[in-house]
Amino acid sequence: MNARTKRVLFNELTTLLEYLDPSSLAVLKKKFSAFEQEIVYGPDAGEADADRKYHEDRAAFTSALCLELIPKIDKLADKTIDRAASLSSSRFLVALLAAIGGVATLGAIGIGKEEVARISGIVTSGVAILNAGLDSMSKRYTATETQKAIDLKRASLELAQLRHDMDLSVMHERNVTEIAAAIGKCNQIALDLNQRKDQLRIV
C-alpha cells in the first residue's frame, strides 16, 4: 500500500465563499479550472501519491479563496456590530411607536378624551414595562450579536494569518505537511462558520 499524505481539503472554503459571494467563486472556478469538479461536487479522496505540486496547486487555490473570504467575513462582522449598536435607538423608536400607535388606535375607535387619557396611562405603564423588557433583552441581544461579531472577526484574522503562513511555506519550499496543515486549518475555520451559517446570518 502506498503511503498517503493526509487529504488536503478546501471544500468548506468554497462552500463558504459560495454562501457569501457566488460570483467571486465563479471567477475563481474559471481561474482554477482544474478544481472545477471538486468545487461543484465536493472533495474527492485525494491522490494516492500526493506530490509537492499537488500541495502547491491546492495551496494557491486556498490562498485565493482566503483572499476573497477575508474582507467578506470582515464586512459581515461589521454589519453584525452595526446591528448591535443600532439596537438601542431602535428600542426607543419601537417603544415610542407603540405608545403613539396605541393612543391613536384608541382615539380612532371612538373612545372619549377622558377614557383615552386613562387608557393612555395604562399604555404608558405598559410602555414602561416594555421598555424595561426591551432593555433587558437588548443587552442580551447585543451581547449575542457582539459575540457573533467577535467570532467572525477572529475567523477573518485567523484566515489572514494562516494564509500568510501558507504562502511563506510555499515560497520557502517548506515540508508539504506544513502546507497541508495550513490548508486544513483554513478549511476547518470555514467548516465552523458553515455549521453556524444560520446563526451568523451567513446565508
Binding site: 395604562i122 467548516l191 446570518r201
Partner: protein
Amino acid sequence: MLEGLVMQAKLSHSSKPNYGRATNVRNRNARVGHAVAASLLALLSLVASDAWAPSFGRPVYRPPEPPARPYRPAESDIYRAPTESAGAEAIKSPWAKSSSPLLETTHNADGSKRAAFWKSITDSLGSPTTNISSAYILVRIVDKGVVITTNFLQPGYKDAPVLLLNHEDLSNADVFGEAVTKLTGSTKLVDTTSLKIVLDKDPSSPEFAKLFNKDEQTFRFSTASFSHAELYLKGSTSVFALERIDRPKPPPRWAAKLNKCCVKTGVPPDIEGWAEFGRVPFNRKRAQIVSLFSDSRTSEMLAGLNSKQNFRHPNEIKGDPLEAIRKLVDEGDKSAPIIVIGHTEGSSFRVEGSQDYAVSFEALTQIAKVANRPVFFVGCYTAEHFAMADKTILDYPPIGTLNLIYPREVVPKILRALNESSSMRDFTEKLSDETLDIWVSNNFLRNVNDGAARTVRAPIYKRLRDGSKSIVGFIFMYIPCGLFGACK
C-alpha cells in the same frame, strides 16, 4: 408581563364605584386593555425575534445537476438469427466477381447463395438502409469460417457484399478493417453503427472462448470502430446488448447491459441471477444511512433524515465510531439495509477532520453479520482491499483503481434510490444514471459465510472528459440469506 398589564387594567376598573350605565364602558375599557396588552406582547415578540434584523438574502441552495449525456435506449430484439443452413450455404458458395453490367447495382448475383444469405440477414436482424447511423455490421461465426456483411447500402447498390474470412483473420485488425471498408465503401462508421455477432454455440464453448476473452472481458478481434454490439448466442432467447467501455489503456472492455440505462455486467450476463435479485425486498422506510463524508454541504443534502436513526455527518458520531455504528445497526430494523458511504482508503472508510479515524470494511461487515442485517457500502477511491484476492470470507476480487467520485454527486443518487426503491435490484439501478454506470460483477449473489449470506460487488464507472470511462467507486452488498427466502 401580559398578566401584569391585565391585572393593572382590572385594578384600575375595580377602584371605581359601580355606576349602572358605566358597566358597558368598563367592559369596553377592559376589552381595550386586553387589546393593548396583546399589541404590546406582539411588539415584544417582534423585538425578540430576528425577523426585523436585516437579512443578507443568499440564494436558496440547490444541489448541482450532474452533466448529462444523450440517452440511447437498449434494443431488446428477440433472437431471430439466420438459419444454420443459410450460413452454411453462404460459405459453400464461391465468391465470384462478375463484370456483367447488370450487376452494377448489386454485390451478390441474383439467386446466388450469398444473395439468399444477405436477404435472410436483413429480413431477420434489420432491414437495409442507406443511413450509416442505423446500419450494422454482422459477424457470423460458423465452423468453416466467419461471414461478414452489413445492411448498409453503398450508393448505387441494392444489396451489400457478403464476405468470407478465415477464423484466424478475424483477430487480424488489418484484415478485419479491410473487410469492413469493403462493406461500407467510402462511408465511415459512426458511433451508432452497431456490431451484431451471431454464434451458434454455447457461451461455455471453445468457440465462444476464441471469440471473447472472459477474463479481460474483451473481444479477440478489433472492435475499436464500434461502441455498441449485440450478441446472439445459441439457446438464449434474448439478444445481449453490449456496450464498449474505453479504459485509459486499450483494449476496451465490453459490458452487457442489464437494464435500459446504466447497469452493466460481464459477458455473458447472468440474467436469471439478476431476476432473482429483483425479488429481494428493499425496506426503504427503515433503511439507515451512515455518511462518513466530511463535507458540510453533503450533510445538508442528508438533513431530511432523522438524526437519531442516521449519521448524516461524521461530527454526529460521538465516541468510538465503530461502537456508535454498531449501536445504530443493533437498534435498527433487521430487514432494512444500513448504507455506509464515504471515501475509502485501503480496506477502510476513512474520515478526516475533527475526528480522524478509519472504519474497516471487515469490521463493518462483521457488525452486519452479527446483527443479521443487510449492509451496503458505497465508496470511492483506492479501495485496495478489493485487490486482495480471496483472503476473507467476504472474498473481494481485484477490480482495479478507484478514483474521482464526489460526495455531492453520489449522495443525491443514494437519496433517490433510498426513496424510490422497492427491491435490492431497484436500489442498484437507481444509483446509476447517464453519468455513472454500475457494473455488477459476473459472479454476483455468491454465497459467503457458510451460506448464511450473499454478496454483490459492483464497481461504479464514470464517463471522463476524454470520453473514456474509469472506475471511480464501488458498491458492496452483504445480504443475509433470509431476505432471499433461502440461498441455493
